[in-house]
Assembly symmetry: C2
């Protein structure tokens, strides 16, 4: 970021038009880098994690799975402002996409989980989400012969524990990267992959400063920033990062969301209050950059962002091993 | 059924042991016939229907899809006693499996829908289930460019209507058959496909009269019968079929459920009150046949029924076309 601004400063000083500057940049100088296909270290563990990701028995009700709110048919989100939890509770925050989440600096909007493994245990035991607990989840899985044999194959032991459960879910989630977007093809040298409007949008994205925060392979996800930098945000004023750090300076700070697959991950922001990409661009311009984008600029930025939609995860719907007679049954309507 | 009973009567009259009778039966005389693989008449329509089956936008909340209660990772059911509907409403009845449902004489436990197409429209507009309505569903789909082009490809017109929606969902559901169970392999002549206990279970299944109602390719699904024939049922005394026919004689009558994949479709009965196959066998024996199966008989019957688990639907998780800026947004927490 600093480096880019310095280059920009020099460019302004010597009177170079921005256009030529952008054109002159070698691909390695771009603030965004390509998403690489997943290297699956342990396919059997990822396969087990896929089943667990789709398994509603990890919730108290037997109705909610990881995929309910991070729906892999819908960009890894639920496309709701905030999620629906156990007993139809209204969640406090928008479900971020699970796609490319392995690239995040930390997990959750406030970064309270260091990695995907730590994250995976959260919703299972959150009374407002899946409303189960780790002991019950392990007890349920341990009673299902199909799981016991699969855990044994992966971990070399019959004894299931929550660490193995969350490690498997994380191993699956690490496979959920979305390479080969049109933008990445352009980065790789296919100059026809983007049209003029998309290229103009990318140029503006960099010039206006969007890429100051939305950069790297995930086009975000790698820093925390204040929501409402120039102008205060009038939506849901969740404390954000300060709830984790205890620092007042971190109030209203959130992990910068990835813009990969942003075409699919509506609605936007931590509170889901921006229904469309156009609205999100407008709010970001005013609140973070102090700039009102024209309709034409807005359309260009949106066109560029849609070029970030990559190849979605492609796998067969998993078949879950059936419960046994001794498996504790779901309790959707109990206290 | 009548024919089988006649043969049985003759066998009893002439003193033939039942075992030799069963052994002597040619495959064509079996009360159960094999499930045939689906012939997909219109693959593009089935593919469109698959997307719709997984699309939560057909519900008011944007959270519930057909797959929520007919989960194709879990035997085409939700494995709950009764389903969870909009706003966490408790459903009045157990969700029957969608697997092999094209073989049913009619749809729903009370047979109120003649076929899968008619059935598909029900839950979308049921305030206790998906809580949307047909006009809104069509309006939503019509606003999604990816759907509009797919409907055009399938139906030759841009104009979506509920008939095309439900016809597509039904076309997908018709593909959800489960051939090649171990039992079907045995039927086809592979005598090693079943072990002695499973064969003994099948013999008992026929002798005891289970196959009087559970017969045909779906091992059920082809007639309505009274729940509590010999002894009244003490569970949920839903009116059943009489709500459709208006006939008092049809009270407590329900469509006989398929036993295909019954290993996966727990809990059992229209009210889901039997948690295990063993419990279901015990209740059926006493209430329908006036017979208390011994533990050994029960185990044999269960072993036979588990051999009815067929090949589950195998397809890639569908990717849904994203909403456009004008697509009406879900309303999970509204009135």
């Amino acid at each position: 970021m600093l480096k880019r601004l310095t280059v920009l400063g020099v460019a302004l000083l010597i009177g170079l038009p921005m256009y030529s500057l952008v054109q002159a940049e070698a691909p390695s100088k771009e603030p965004i880098s390509a998403i690489k296909p997943a290297k699956v270290a342990n396919p059997a563990m990822a396969e087990l994690g896929k089943k667990l990701f789709f398994d509603t028995r990890l919730s108290k009700s037997g109705f909610i799975s990881c995929n309910s709110c991070h729906n892999l048919s819908m960009g890894g989100t639920d496309n709701l402002k905030t999620s629906i939890g156990h007993n139809w509770q209204k969640g406090p925050i928008n479900s971020p996409t699970v796609l490319n989440s392995s690239l995040n600096v930390a997990q959750f909007w406030d970064g309270r989980a260091a990695d995907l493994k730590e994250q995976a245990g959260g919703p299972i035991a959150n009374p407002g989400e899946m409303a189960s607990n780790h002991a019950l989840s392990v007890h349920i899985l341990q009673s299902i012969p199909g799981y016991v044999s699969e855990f044994k194959k992966v971990f070399g032991t019959d004894k299931i524990d929550i660490d193995k459960v969350t490690a498997s879910i994380a191993a699956f989630e690490e496979t959920l990267v979305t390479p080969n977007s049109r933008f990445d093809k352009w980065l790789a040298g296919d100059k026809k992959a983007l049209n003029d409007q998309e290229l103009a949008g990318y140029k503006l994205f960099k010039e206006a400063g969007c890429s100051g925060c939305h950069n790297g392979p995930a086009v975000g996800g790698n820093s925390f920033q204040k929501m409402g930098l120039v102008e205060p945000y009038k939506g849901n004023t969740n404390d954000g990062r300060s709830a984790v750090t205890g620092k007042d300076a971190d109030r209203f700070n959130f992990k910068v969301p990835t813009l990969r697959n942003v075409e699919l991950t509506y609605p936007y922001f931590h509170d889901g209050e921006a229904a469309t990409l156009s609205e999100a661009v407008d709010v970001m311009g005013r609140l973070q950059l102090g700039r009102k984008f024209t309709a034409d600029e807005n359309a260009k930025l949106v066109a560029f962002m849609i070029s970030l939609t990559g190849e979605q995860p492609s796998f067969k719907l998993p078949q879950l091993p059936p419960s046994s007679d001794i498996t504790p049954r779901p309790d959707p309507f109990g206290k």
